[in-house]
Symmetry: C2
Subunit: 391 residues, 2 copies
């Protein structure tokens, strides 16, 4: 076997890498297009053509599909009340993947929405993401809520609640549970007899079938002004919940909630979406600037080994965790992607610049987080739900 020139070896490696990443980009696009087709969702393009003021995430293609967004646009143009609901199950500090959704919520608040943010510590517990209701409740108050407030939400138009502390949500869930059957839940979530016991735990099923739907339909109860257009920004994995909520809303005489589907931010390890469950995949909003720097430095990218090759062919920003982290959070347009794909911006520089942006953001965010702790009470929803007891 002949010995290759080192340069030739790296060239071949880069070619393989480049083709692999191009394939990944196609696979990624197909994944989301496929989801649109399978789910009866609409792509954003047509809506955007008529939308005078789309969010950055919409322009970037991060918000890529919707259901009934027209209803929300109608409410905005007529100056009528509307609401947005989106939360998460607290099991650790927020990371930049979560921030994508909260950015969209913040934009909606600026467009006039009442923002409801359920922190589902009961879900964390029943699905096994935390060892107790106590642990997930503490995480909600200590880690999650300060970060949400620090992002700039308006306390007059933001209602945050932790399920355990807003037990009225269970009365709403019981009220709604009659509008669904277990068979329907099994079908919507694609469960069957062979599924994990955890999916078939009575608490998990009740959560999925009724508590989550109660959260989505809560803004339409009389305590919050009655039926109104409501939108739920979600990752595509949450789509079944929306279908269930739409079905139950109709039976209850509410307006079926609209849905906005957002892409997942890539994990820095290049192995899927950013997730707290894979160390090294996430940059947390609570990370020290030094830790964030280390994570981003070690990150997978959309580039290749050989500098010349990348200058000639460009990188693949669409699948690059660093490029997406930067563009989704710190840029107003696509110029970074363009510079990358045209070979003008190389990974080292991109990482260096992104690290600076992230470090600055974290310093600022963490200062605001500490200040936000004092204002938690202003954001907590306390309105008792009594209308279901009126005959």
């Amino acid at each position: 076997m002949s010995e290759q020139e080192p340069n030739q070896k790296y060239r071949e490696m880069s070619e393989v890498d480049y083709r692999l990443k191009c394939d990944l980009r196609v696979k990624e696009q197909k994944y989301y297009l496929g989801k649109i087709q399978d789910s009866g969702l609409k792509p954003m393009e047509r809506f955007l053509a008529y939308c005078p003021n789309p969010s950055l995430n919409m322009k970037r293609g991060v918000t890529f599909a919707h259901m009934d967004l027209e209803g929300i646009a109608g409410a905005i143009s007529e100056g009528k009340p509307w609401a947005v609901v989106s939360g998460l199950n607290p099991s650790g500090p927020l990371h930049f993947g979560h921030k994508v959704i909260f950015d969209e919520l913040l934009w909606m608040q600026q467009q006039g929405a009442d923002v409801f943010i359920p922190l589902t510590n009961d879900e964390s517990y029943v699905v096994g993401k935390s060892k107790s209701l106590a642990e997930s409740r503490r995480i909600a108050y200590d880690d999650v809520i300060p970060s949400i407030i620090a992002m700039g939400f308006d306390s007059n138009k933001t209602k945050i609640f932790v399920d355990s502390d807003y037990a009225d949500i269970y009365n709403v869930a019981m009220d709604l549970s009659k509008y669904v059957t277990l068979n329907k839940v099994f079908k919507v979530f694609g469960l069957d007899k062979e599924d994990d016991e955890i999916d078939r735990n009575p608490g998990t099923l009740f959560y999925r079938a009724a508590v989550q739907v109660a959260q989505i339909l809560l803004p339409q109860y009389p305590e919050f002004g009655g039926p109104k257009p409501t939108i739920v920004p979600v990752g595509i994995d949450q789509h079944p919940y929306i279908l269930l909520a739409r079905d139950m809303a109709e039976k209850k005489g509410f307006i079926p909630p609209s849905e906005l589907v957002m892409k997942f931010l890539f994990g820095m390890d290049g192995k899927g979406k950013m997730s707290a469950s894979r160390p090294g995949s996430a940059v947390f909003l609570t990370d020290s600037p030094e830790k964030a720097e280390k994570t981003i430095k070690a990150s997978y990218t959309g580039g290749v080994t050989l500098r010349d090759f990348q200058i000639a062919h460009g990188g693949i920003p669409e699948i690059c965790p660093v490029g997406c982290l930067r563009e989704w959070h710190f840029e107003n347009d696509r110029h970074v992607s363009e510079r990358c794909s045209s070979g003008k911006l190389l990974c080292g520089d991109d990482k260096r610049e992104t690290i600076e942006m992230v470090k600055n953001y974290l310093r600022d965010h963490q200062e605001k987080r500490e200040e936000a702790r004092k204002r938690i009470d202003k954001f907590i929803l306390k309105t008792p739900i009594r209308s279901i007891f009126e005959e």
Copy 2:
């Protein structure tokens, strides 16, 4: 065909009727004995031999079986705290069938028990016994609670709660839901794919699997002094709940609750247990004395048509709604049954005497009910359950 003497015809009718009622008595005995054998319960006899102070219902055989009653007896003799839990789903006023259970609770309170009475208006709603949470909640406060208080419970040792108004019970239910699987629930309640949708409604299942168990185990939470012997007097149809609660208690580190099984009071129509769902079967505690008189006058009995025949052979008091109503509620011993089965007490006299007793009871009860309305708040459990949020 020869024309029979009228007397001869009635004699034959009476013979048929008598044999039928004797058979019914055997069937009834076999039913309860069979239940004891199938359920792993113990008959009361052996316990009673050592019990210095049994309740009237125990002496009468109305309380006919138990599980782990020894644990309660131990707590009593050692002067340690113990609790009793029994409630019902509010869907209408109480009748004398309900009173049997509350009499036993009252006796237990006199023996030192802390009494917990959950009024499961969520259950009424999800199983379809009331059209809304609102309706069943109203019934709880307007109809059920005043009657319970009027029976003589001590507000210092009685904790009544309506599920909707004590939503902390759902936190307890969520906490406990991890100690059971859906497969286990299906198995315990004998449900399968073919069952009624109502049994497979997520709210109903969550109620059965977790909320009901939360109520049974509530006295063992730190807010009420931690693990302690607890007993649940029930009708035999509630046995699966106890099995589930015992299983989950063990996993949670609680003491598996004891069970006391009571017979059902006969409906006045002779068609099964006294039930609000069969008009004419029940004498309600809210009935006017005149209405009660009418119901009892029209009642099925354990006697036969022909007076002479009954004097000669006696009646069958064990299956007589009038005899049981009287003996279970107004007598201290079995002398009425003995007079009936020996032919000394005939149905007409028995009805007349019972009517007087019931009318007197109702007048007194209804007066106390009105007075009790003012004291409802003293009985309502308000203790927040925070211990599940301590790490």
